[in-house]
Structure formats: C-alpha cells, structure tokens
C-alpha cells in the first residue's frame, strides 16, 4: 500500500477510538476504512469489531487503535479517547459510554442540540447530522463515511486526504459522494 507523502504523519501515542452503531450501518467497514487511512498516514492501526450472532439492527461496535508502532493489545475493552456514535437512536445507551477517558471526545450522529448529549467531565461533545448529510450526498441514510469525516475534522488523528484515498479504493465509482459527505460533516460539527 502506497503511503501519501504530503505532510509528515501525525506522531501519536496509543489512541483508542470506539465506533458504535447498529448492524447494517457500516460500523465494521468504518473501522476498516479508518484503520486503512491511518496506515496511509504512516501510523500503525488495528481495528477489532465486536458483534454477536444477531444481525441487522443489533448493537455493533468496533475498536480502532492507532499508534506510532506495533500494537500488542488484543482485547476489545479499553479506555477510548474518542467515541463515534454512528446511529442516532443510541445516544443514551450505557455500553457505548463505558470506560471512556475523562477527557474523551464524543461525536454523535444526531439532530439533537449538543447540550442535551452525554459528556465526559473534561471532554468535548459534538453533534453532527450525519444521516442528513449522507442523504444529501449519497441519497442513502448510510452515515458511516460522514461520521469518519467528522472524526477527522474534530480530532486530526487521521488526515482527510487519506480518508478520501481509502474511499476511492474501497468504493470505486462511488467515492465522490462519500468524499463530499465526509467533507461536509467535518465542517458541520456543533460543539456543546
């Protein structure tokens, strides 16, 4: 895989991102896309999905870890630095919020005002209408790529160019809508 050498890669210690959504919304795919984009940035990445035997509509989570070097952790539990909630109906669900760092950044796909959303004591919370953005740019309510754009915009842990390159590889012929959705979402975050 060729790296994108536009700027020096971000240097980071181990960072943990928890993606939460429902089966069918592309949670596992989002984890893979994010990991692959981080790899293009020159980081080391690991994406561990967790779901049960139930299918579409059930809770699906994915832990993505990013670091400068090899990651040895093989557990799904951890202390996430960032929570990305892809489904708009599970913003209150306790499992999504378990174990988050006190300064964790929380990003919700929601039309609720950000002040109503759960928040960590020292962290930021952002609201993005990712489903609306996906409908506008893709014509389908698949909010995963928009939420990745919001993640890139909010945290800088992965470069937008790398995400775009991964979309082009993964969705040949359909990348443009996803790129537009990701860009729009990165600029549409309402902070509490």
């Amino acid at each position: 895989m060729t790296r994108i050498e536009t700027a020096p890669p971000p240097t980071i210690a181990l960072r943990e991102i928890r993606l939460v959504g429902r089966g069918g919304q592309g949670v596992v795919t989002a984890g893979e896309l994010l990991g692959e984009a981080a790899l293009l940035d020159g980081q080391y990445a690991q994406s561990i999905p967790a779901f049960g035997p139930e299918r579409r509509g059930a809770l699906a989570t994915c832990v993505v870890r990013l670091a400068d070097g090899e990651i040895l952790l093989r557990c799904s539990a951890g202390a996430p630095d960032v929570l990305v909630v892809i489904d708009p109906t599970i913003w209150k669900l306790p499992p999504a919020l378990l174990g988050l760092k006190p300064d964790a950044t929380l990003l919700f796909n929601t039309t609720r005002p950000p002040g109503e959303l759960p928040k960590r004591p020292q962290g930021r919370v952002g609201a993005i209408d990712a489903t609306g953005i996906a409908l506008a740019h893709l014509g389908r309510p698949i909010p995963n790529t928009a939420m990745l754009g919001a993640f890139a915009g909010a945290t800088g842990l992965v470069r937008m160019e790398s995400l775009e390159e991964v979309f082009r590889r993964r969705f040949p012929g359909k990348a443009d809508g996803n790129i537009a959705a990701a860009r729009a979402a990165s600029e549409a975050i309402l902070w509490a």
């Binding site: 990991g35 790899l39 990445a45 994406s47 035997p53 040895l72 799904s76």
Partner: protein
C-alpha cells in the same frame, strides 16, 4: 513486499491463494466463513485456478479434501468449533493416510452453552489426531503460518496434515497491517509441483491404502506416524530459516520476550500472549521481572524450546484458553511434562482465562501474575474470570502440598 490492511480470515485466504491451492472443500461456520468466501471470490475473478467443492457438511468437506489430496492436489479447508468436531473422525484418516492438507481454523468455543466467540477448546481437543498444530498471535502470523504449514506438511520427511489456528473475531475479524509477499516469492517458497505430491490414486497403477491392519504391524505404523510428527519440528525449523532469509521475519516454535532474566514466565497460545507482552512491559516497569513465552508450534510440542525459554525462572504461569474438564487446562500438562525434566524444575501454576470469548485484558494478565507471585501451592488451577467462592477467586485444589 506490500503492506496490506487485512483481517485474519483474509490473511489465511490470501496465503492459500498464493500457495496456489488446487482444491478447496469447506462448509461455512462463524467466524471462519469469510476465509472460504474470499477464496470463492478469487476463483470467480480468475485470480485462483482451483476447484471449490460444495459439500453438505464438514465431515464431507474433509473427506473431499482427503480424496483430492490422494490424487496429488494441494488441498485447503477451513473450519472451527462444532464443524471441526464433525470432522473429528476424518481428521485421523487424513493423518493416517499422510495427506498434507492444510486447514485454517478461526478458533471458537464448543457448545453448549452456545457461543460464537473465541477459545481454544475446539483445536485443543483435537490436538492428538496426528496433525501439526500452529497457533497464530497476530494477523501477520496467520499469513506466515499458513505458508509454513504447506511447506512443512508437504515435505517428504513429514507428509502430515496441518492446522493453523487463530482466535475467532479477535484475529479472524480484526484488521491490522500485514506484510504480504509477492506471488513469485511464494512460488519459490512453495514449489509449484512438488514431486512428492504425485498421486497416490492412479488408475494405471492401482493400489489400496487406508486398509485394515492387524495387531502385529499396528505399533510400527503408529510409531512411524508419531516420529514423523516429532521430526516435523526440525523440518519446520528449516522452513522458518528459509522464510527468515526471504522476509526478514523470524518465526520460532516458542517465541520469547524478556525471558532471559525473568522470575515469572507466562506460557500460552494465541493472541492473548501479545496482550501478555503488553502487560509484562508495565509489570517490569513496576519491578516484577516477567517474561512471555508464546507457544507457536503446539503439535509437535517443542519440549526443548520451552525448557530453554523458561530458563532459570522460578515460577511458570500457564495460561489456558480452554479447560480439560476434570483435570486442568490442556496446555498445562504439556508444559509440566516438559519442565519436570528441566534443570530448574520451577513451580508451574495454571490459569483458565478467556473461555467463550471472555475478553483477556492486561488486567487479566496482571491478576494472574499477582496470584502466581504468591505461589499458592495446592491451588494449582485458577479461574480468574469465574465468579468464585468467598475470597473471590475460583480455583480447583490440585495436589495438596
């Protein structure tokens, strides 16, 4: 070499494709299914010239593999859990008839209770069926070990089937960077038409095999099969050397980290040993000298490598992601047997962890080390994940000191 972002099933399928497997017969089961789906995609796309045999069960899948191997085809399958159990009868046929079939296994526990998640129960209950058993700790290792499995299994000095086991979901569905070799390199690593893979079944030269054997000769055949499996360790060592010279990646039957000066050595199989390495770094920083020995080749059991790895450590903690009901974890007896003859004769304690997919975190490992440090004699098998009696830790007594 290219860096890919693959999950474990993809890594197994890519290695099988690059090995130019000729026949694949498998039956779907979570979490292995993707492996065979990927292979069918490769065949459909013209990237792999193989015959995919659709079968009605795992028993038939392995039987079809035996037939294919008998006519000299490079043969691959994948399974786990109940599927592997259904194959059980045929596992012995494959090794008895010395078919170098390679099977990828995305480890999953056995029912009941029903669970789709990882532990090593499924492969460990099949440890004594005459197959080579390799356990991967990372997605990279899944890829590397599938290649090494073909190379070793097909060697004329070995001629035995091989399983490559990797934790379901934790490795099968997790993606991470994998250094993949170019197809030409694999062609050199695994010759296209090994002369020893000549067909056993040939209409122009009819013969029988897998026949009845009377008691007079039975022990001779058993001894040869056992020796071939034992000697495969040396053949695998050669394969590992060749692999190292081509890739720079060093594989060994037992991989050690920080064992040289360790007081406590953790021994076990699979991905949890990487989490153990992560935990060991912190424990060392806090002053506890912990080493980690990941057993990568489990059958044949690398006695000498293990004894060397443990060195002068006074305590060995065997982590078993399985349970041999009524005895101890299944890796434990292998380790104690090897260490009984070791010069240092350390205390060996057993920990049953991560069964049925229970998350093994650095805290789990720290808990084991904490319990092991006090060297509870007479409480040899601990269950740190289970809800225990009064003192909060479940254990089975073992032999009272």
């Amino acid at each position: 070499m290219t860096t890919e972002f693959w999950n474990g099933n993809r890594a197994a399928a890519e290695a099988a494709r690059q090995a130019r497997v000729q026949v694949v017969a498998a039956y779907p089961i979570t979490p292995q299914t993707h492996t065979v789906e990927y292979l069918s995609e490769y065949v459909a796309a013209g990237r792999l010239d193989a015959r995919l045999v659709r079968v009605e069960s795992e028993h038939s899948a392995l039987s079809a593999c035996c037939g294919a191997s008998a006519v000299g085809a490079r043969t691959f399958t994948a399974s786990c859990s109940q599927g592997l159990q259904l194959m059980s009868e045929v596992l012995y046929f494959a090794s008895g008839m010395r078919f170098p079939i390679v099977m990828a296994i995305a480890n999953r526990t056995l029912s009941v209770p029903v669970s789709i998640w990882a532990d090593h129960q499924d492969t460990l209950v099949n440890r004594d069926c005459g197959w080579i058993q390799l356990y991967a700790a990372s997605v990279q290792e899944v890829y590397d070990l599938v290649l090494m499995a073909f190379r070793t299994a097909e060697d004329p000095r070995v001629h035995l089937p091989a399983m490559v086991a990797y934790d379901g979901f934790i490795l099968s569905h997790a993606s991470e960077p994998v250094e993949a070799l170019p197809d030409e390199e694999i062609r050199a690593l695994l010759p296209p038409e090994p002369p020893h893979l000549r067909p056993l079944l040939d209409p122009n030269d009819p013969k029988q095999f897998g026949e009845v054997l009377f008691p007079d000769f039975y022990p001779d055949i058993e001894y040869k099969k056992h020796r071939a499996l034992e000697e495969s360790l040396e053949v695998m060592g050669e394969a590992f050397e060749d692999f190292h010279s081509r890739t720079g990646r060093r594989l060994s039957p037992v991989e050690t980290h920080g064992c040289e000066d360790a007081e406590i050595v953790l021994v076990g199989l699979g991905s949890m040993m990487q989490t153990a390495r992560h935990a060991a770094t912190r424990l060392r920083a806090e002053g506890t000298k912990v080493g980690v020995a990941q057993v990568r080749v489990y059958r044949p059991f690398p006695d000498r490598d293990l004894v060397e790895a443990v060195g002068g450590a006074r305590t060995v903690l065997v982590l078993d992601r399985d349970i041999g009901y009524g005895s101890a974890g299944m890796v434990y007896p292998d380790v104690t047997r090897a260490l009984y003859h070791a010069p240092s004769r350390p205390d060996v304690l057993n920990f049953i962890v991560g069964t049925g997919g229970k998350d093994i975190t650095p805290k789990t490992i720290e808990r084991c080390v904490e319990l092991g440090r006090h060297g509870y004699r007479g409480m040899s098998v601990f269950w740190p994940d289970a809800r225990g009696p009064a003192e909060g830790i479940a254990y089975t007594p073992g032999v009272k000191a």
